[in-house]
């Protein structure tokens, strides 16, 4: 039930919003005619809108609190429950496979191209998930490794004619090295301090690329980066996009496969231990240095591979593609999707990248939508859209 107090609260929130948005929503200065227009009807609608929004918000908040009170053990997300059930899992995977297989043939090139971006973000998200979600190291400079991969391919191709396929492993190694390089100076840092330093690192890489003209061609960037080759067959533009699409699908599958293996390995467990309690983790015999460095290095590896794909797909790169906003977008994918949850991150990437593309109306307000989504997810589902679950071990098999 809506109480008197809540109505009063919503009323004041509405009042506050009316004052707050007054300068931008109500006052309009017409500079040509030199007059000021007051759009009072806007004020009215904002008041009404906020009042009901506040009431709804409150209602959902209470719903959530009541739910928490009644539920003792934390529930497993529906997706995981379904995936654990073999009767559902196999048909589901088959449908999914067919969908992604026929996708580029039934939809126009434009849609395939958007899907490629989303899939690249899946890779980036899964990579960053290692660092942020599993190892608990807040990295705001992740785009630096994306940049390293893209420039590695572009430059190696420009100067030495290195092909896409050779650039993939080379940039993976480069990403690994750069990840380690970033890892060393930040070994002692945690939380906010770590975030600031990694943010700086991301910007440094971009600024170097912008200013070291003789090396990177500066802000003009590098053009004519060739798409991946297919046995010297000449592909038209549409077929090239389809080809890249399938390469990305393969890379994403590889990423999912390897990241899942890492997560349930000795190294993955060490990452989670480090995230949950740094002191206990060390006291249990885990080297903090090694664990942090492997997290940074392996996270960076996937960003770097993603960078190569990005360069091959767009055929033109410049430093403006690798700003802090890119890092924040990738971080949003991880946080909104579910930190430490591979399925969550995949869902997060599709939601955050595809939604703005298809809701053209909000594309300009992308950051606003991200912000709003983040607040909503953090308040109502702090573990993300789909939270992670840990592996269940069965003991009949192990005991021979």
């Amino acid at each position: 039930m809506v109480t008197k107090k809540e109505i009063k609260q919503a009323f004041f929130i509405a009042l506050w919003f009316m004052v707050l948005t007054f300068p931008i929503m109500v006052i309009k200065v017409n500079t040509i005619k030199n007059i000021v227009i007051f759009r009072w009807n806007y004020l009215f609608w904002i008041g009404i809108g906020t009042f009901f929004a506040a009431l709804t918000w409150n209602y959902f908040l209470q719903l959530k609190e009541n739910k928490q009170k009644t539920e003792t053990s934390d529930d497993i997300p529906l997706v995981h429950k379904l995936l654990q059930n073999a009767r559902f899992k196999i048909p589901f995977l088959i449908v999914l496979a067919i969908f992604f297989l026929v996708y580029p043939f039934i939809f126009p090139m434009y849609h395939t191209s958007i899907m490629i971006s989303a899939l690249v973000y899946v890779m980036l998200g899964l990579g960053l998930n290692i660092v942020v979600g599993l190892a608990g190291l807040l990295d705001l400079g992740y785009v630096a490794f994306y940049c390293v991969g893209a420039y590695a391919y572009a430059l190696l191709n420009l100067h030495f004619g290195v092909s896409f396929w050779l650039a993939l492993p080379i940039s993976a190694v480069l990403g690994f090295l750069f990840g380690t390089l970033l890892g060393y100076p930040v070994l002692r840092l945690r939380g906010d301090y770590l975030a600031i330093v990694t943010l700086g690192f991301g910007e440094i890489i971009r600024i170097i690329m912008e200013n070291w003209d003789s090396f990177s061609n500066g802000p003009r960037g590098i053009a004519n980066i060739p798409p991946p080759s297919l046995f010297n067959i000449d592909l038209n533009q549409h077929n090239t996009v389809i080809y890249i699409y399938f390469i990305v699908i393969a890379l994403v599958l590889m990423t999912i496969f390897f990241v899942a293996r890492l997560e349930d390995s000795r190294i993955g467990r060490a990452w989670i231990a480090l995230r949950d309690d740094e002191i206990a983790c060390q006291a249990m015999g885990i080297s903090k240095v090694k664990t942090k460095l492997t997290a940074f290095a392996l996270g960076a590896t996937w960003a770097s591979i993603g960078g190569v794909v990005f360069a091959a797909k767009t055929s033109y790169i410049n430093p403006m593609s690798f700003t802090i906003w890119e890092s924040i977008t990738i971080l949003s994918v991880v946080v909104i999707g579910g930190m430490g949850s591979a399925i969550g991150v995949i869902a997060g990437a599709f939601v955050l990248i595809l939604l703005p593309e298809y809701l053209r109306a909000v594309a300009e307000y992308r950051m606003l939508v991200f912000g709003a989504l983040q607040v909503i997810v953090m308040v109502f589902k702090p573990e993300g859209l789909i939270k992670g679950v840990r592996k269940i071990y069965k003991f009949k098999k192990v005991e021979e």
């Binding site: 949950d276 206990a280 006291a283 840990r390 071990y393």
Partner: protein, 263 residues
């Protein structure tokens, strides 16, 4: 025989506070020893100093693992100390909340495993065997400690007493020769304390372990310990078997307060 742990002149200064002042303690193989003292006496600080979490201001810590030669722990990181065979639990429970009970114990196995990135990515033969063995060993430890019914539960959902036992299980998984328990009975009911008493004795007798425990529950300390060390204001004031310590006037004074001062 050499003591397995020999701490000499350990001093730890925080700013102006001498949390430990020239403390000497030795532990023999197979012993259950207790470290007692009033609140703030420096007991936890002592654990932190020998396990490498704090670097002591001065003093030497030497270990002699059974069947091995003596070595100093000076300058070692906490994980290196654990690797050498000292394992500990924490006064304020520090489990890995985001992992299952089994995985918590598997973390303890970490330092006895070798698989690296390559093994994890490609599931090499060696990695698979090692992983299988770690799962099996960890489960076995849970059975010993009596936690096997919780195996796939998240650590944070365990009852309090079980969380304390899980800390012991996790420490055991690192294959220690000396187990350091920081107030293992804190917050336990009498029944749980009794079970803990039995567990500690069982560990000493069956796992070839020596144990040093910090504890405020005097009944538990007196019934378990072969030897008791008493600290007060960072200084060691007494040591001996339970009878000796109980009747030591210094100890009585430290615990009951100095009556002559009150007058």
């Amino acid at each position: 025989m050499e003591p397995i742990l020999n701490v000499e002149n350990l001093t730890m200064i925080f700013g102006g506070l001498k949390a430990l002042n020239n403390v000497n303690i030795t532990i023999e193989q197979g012993q259950i020893a207790a470290l007692i003292g009033p609140n703030g006496a420096g007991k936890t600080t002592f654990f932190n100093c020998i396990t490498g979490i704090y670097e002591p201001t001065t003093g030497d810590v030497t270990i002699t693992p059974p069947g091995k030669s003596s070595q100093s722990l000076k300058g070692l990181k906490p994980n290196q100390v654990t690797q050498k065979g000292l394992a500990r639990t924490f006064q304020n429970i520090r489990l890995f909340q985001g992992m299952t009970v089994l995985e918590n114990v598997m973390i303890g196995r970490h330092c006895r495993m070798k698989a690296g990135i390559f093994g994890a990515l490609f599931h090499t033969h060696a990695q698979k065997n090692e992983e299988k063995k770690a799962i099996y060993d960890s489960y076995e430890i849970l059975e010993k400690i009596g936690l096997e019914q919780y195996v796939n539960e998240m650590a944070k959902n365990l009852p309090y007493g079980a969380q304390r036992r899980l800390e012991i299980a996790r420490a055991l998984a690192t294959d220690p020769f000396l187990l350091l328990l920081d107030e293992p009975a804190a917050g336990m009911n009498p029944q749980e304390t009794k079970e803990l008493d039995d567990l500690i004795i069982w560990l000493r007798d069956n796992e070839n372990l020596s144990i040093l425990l910090i504890e405020h529950d005097m009944k538990l300390v007196m019934s378990l310990s072969d030897k008791i060390h008493v600290v007060d204001y960072g200084k060691k004031i007494a040591q001996g078997n339970p009878e000796e310590v109980k009747s030591n006037p210094e100890v009585i004074k430290a615990y009951l307060g100095d009556e002559s001062e009150d007058a």
